[in-house]
Symmetry: C2
Subunit: 470 residues, 2 copies
């Protein structure tokens, strides 16, 4: 189901209900770009912190144009009902809220979307707005100005009370000139704002003015119409703020309901999800892991599971292949996955790859079939398979592309076989690395085994001592 700004509001109940009923849900994103510069391209020897920093840079600069969510409801132990939603997103500017986002596009990524028939007009004309929870809170606080009242001490009262009396007198006599006082101290002004608002129930408003380096407060008596205008303005602001929060409400629901989230090679999608809908990604990878875990306690990466747990059955973990292979591995008779009426009737022949809703559907389907296949041997029901207890050993580990590190483990600290340092021997020899801090002694062939084939030929020219190798 395509969801745009035009039908978002009316579709919210359907979306929330689908999330609520789901055993798990899968996600996917379509992005405006991947790498802001050549420095940000992945290197096989990236440390976990380096790789995460590249993801953070990407998620901070590029935009999500389409967000796919597919919910999967367990109907009986042999049947899952899928509801794929395809959200078009765009963070419109808003004058009242002072939002006007600058984001990056990479022409190669735009070309990629063009090759998969992406409708840019739909996203720019009719995309659903969004705003991170963090920004939403700041803006809400800004308008509410819910600062705690200062409790007046004796000295404060000595200053404030005579002024209140003076304003009261002015109100009663209604002289032509407004009540006006020079107050150069900011604290004194704040006291007076606070107490005038309380005493006159908002009908007297103090306005600041500066003349010749001096600061004055001037009292203005609001008419009933003016006062309601103030309230209307505030209501407008809050309404627009809620509207701008938009799609983030859906992500908030997934977090609140502690739903199981599935994705294919999804670390970058998750970084984008965090940055766009929760708040600024932290700089430190350790901090990211813990705060991610608080928000999404159970994330599963189908690429990681396929590679690490079902390598014998699954020769290619490309999403298209994985979807096809898992459909052959587990037949419909054993586990039927069907799209709900009223939703896009995706199937194996749909071939809508890189439409976020379809990719989410394929990912969730492959996940369910892989888990069925894994738990079958242990004779565990599908309902129990999809519970936290069973999933725990597969969860919170992400596949890492082009990396010597086998996975990004959210709940454990970085596994250290050895540390790798790039040696700056000379500008032309930038593929020379120092391996150091070995956990246990390793010989050359053991080291070579840890290095993925894509690195190419590895050569050891020197052994500095028993613990280091170059």
């Amino acid at each position: 189901m395509d969801v745009t700004r035009s039908n978002f509001k009316q579709t919210i109940p359907l979306i929330l209900d689908a999330i609520d009923k789901s055993a798990f849900l899968s996600i996917d994103t379509e992005l405006t770009g991947l790498q802001t510069s050549k420095n940000m391209s992945y290197r096989v020897f990236d440390s976990l912190q380096q790789r995460y920093s590249k993801f953070k840079d990407s998620a901070s600069n590029f935009q999500i144009l389409q967000y796919g969510i597919c919910t999967f409801e367990l109907q009986d132990d042999k049947k899952l009902l899928a509801k794929p939603f395809n959200f078009y997103l765009f963070p419109r500017s808003n004058e009242l809220l002072k939002t006007d986002l600058v984001f990056s596009c990479q022409s190669g990524s735009i070309d990629f979307l063009v090759n998969h028939n992406f409708d840019f007009n739909k996203t720019f004309y009719d995309g659903i707005p969004f705003m991170s929870q963090e920004e939403y809170s700041i803006k809400k606080e800004f308008v509410a100005q819910e600062r705690d009242d200062i409790i007046l001490n004796e000295k404060d009262e000595d200053f404030v009370l005579p002024q209140l009396t003076s304003i009261e007198n002015w109100l009663q006599t209604k002289e032509n000139n407004n009540w006006k006082l020079e107050i150069n101290n900011a604290y004194s002004r704040r006291l007076l704002y606070q107490e005038v608002k309380k005493k006159f129930n908002g009908f007297v408003q103090l306005e600041k003015s500066m003349v010749g380096g001096k600061t004055f407060l001037e009292a203005k008596c609001l008419k009933i119409e003016d006062k309601s205008l103030e309230t209307i303005k505030k209501d407008n602001y809050l309404n627009e703020l809620d509207e701008q929060f938009g799609f983030s409400r859906i992500i908030k629901e997934i977090i609140n309901k502690k739903k199981i989230v599935v994705g294919h090679n999804l670390l970058l999608d998750i970084c984008h999800t965090y940055q766009k809908f929760i708040g600024q990604l932290p700089n430190d990878v350790g901090e990211f892991k813990s705060t991610l875990n608080e928000n999404f306690p159970l994330i599963l990466d189908t690429k990681y599971i396929a590679k690490s747990k079902l390598a014998a059955e699954i020769e290619s973990t490309h999403l298209g292949d994985l979807f096809e292979i898992t459909n052959k591995l587990v037949k419909d008779d054993d586990l039927l996955i069907k799209c709900c009426d009223g939703f896009n009737q995706y199937s194996e022949d749909s071939n809508k790859f890189h439409e976020a809703g379809y990719d989410a559907y394929c990912t969730g389907s492959a996940f369910a079939k892989m888990m069925f296949s894994l738990s079958k041997k242990e004779n565990i029901s599908m309902a129990d398979t999809l519970k936290q207890n069973y999933l725990l050993s597969y969860s919170n580990k992400f596949n890492l592309m082009s990396s010597i590190i086998d996975s990004f483990n959210v709940t454990e600290s970085e596994s250290k076989v050895f540390k790798i340092k790039q040696l700056a021997i000379s500008a032309t020899k930038n593929n020379v690395f120092l391996l150091t801090d070995f956990v246990e002694p390793m010989n050359h062939s053991q080291i070579v085994e840890t290095i993925p084939s894509e690195v190419g030929k590895v050569m050891f020219t020197h052994s500095i001592d028993s613990n280091n190798a170059v």
Copy 2:
């Protein structure tokens, strides 16, 4: 006329002919954004260098999605024939050329284009590519590798000649093993590449390999098919390079033909034009002025002309108003401007503002009518009005928005009434400025007159000495 990648090639002759025949041409751009951050917003007291740096930042980060060019051909002294072209641009990525541009978008600017019915799909799916002359030259040189040959001295020959003989022997005996030699010196390798290529007419190719820190050259005998494959690859590269140069060819033609270029408030358009189609904008505003002048010797800004030369007749210089007012100021009987058959039949009622071709048309029309109005008093023919001699006093001066500086003058150095320095007195008093280096003594009211009304109230709190004011 809309021009996209689909019809660009076949339309080139028509475009070049229109440029060639034109008395002048007008331009306009539609952009993905204006300001990358709040720091880049315009301040009334920006120095010329500061303002230019903001324009450079904008032109370096944002993209042109649509470029309008309208040529105006003088048919007789009372008639101009307009040919408005509306180019959709997009710098596709190209694997062979290794181009993959990252650019910025500002959501407010996207919203602006949405409000004017911009077709994003047309630009992303079918935009004409482009590449700056600078980048084109670098890439062309890269494939040509036209390094001058080294002239061999006696010592060089002593090294090279025995190797050539050795390779010749190997070629004749055709042993199983390839000819191979350890050569660790880069200069020696270059000599051998050069002489082997010459002697064997490209049929023997040397390939470098490194083993255990040693460098080897290995000779490979190319078959006729392989050799032509090399040539085909190079031809492919050059063809793709020319294709990617795309729209830049049109700008190059305008530069080569030294055409008169007209725009409305066009300094930012000109910065984009320079950055995208000529090369990196220089950092220094003075350098920009001189290199801009070399490329475009005669640029005219309709907003500057309207404000500075026809202020009495033209009360609003907004493009829509200017177009309407100039159409009333100079009737069709005096000067008829007509769109050529086969082109969009723009007229006063078209209301296609912010379609680049239409804005260019309106700008050119307003320009012609203003110049008619200005030269009429002097009884000068339209043909003579549109010549360099007459236009010189109006040209190469750009309007500057929200600025104390009245214009950006390309051919003169910055006029200094006084220098303005922002005083960092305190974080809360950031509107305090030091005026210094007065060219001639000015009193308070004279200074106030130089400050545009949009600055708001100006107050002088101290006079430090006769030459400085705060």
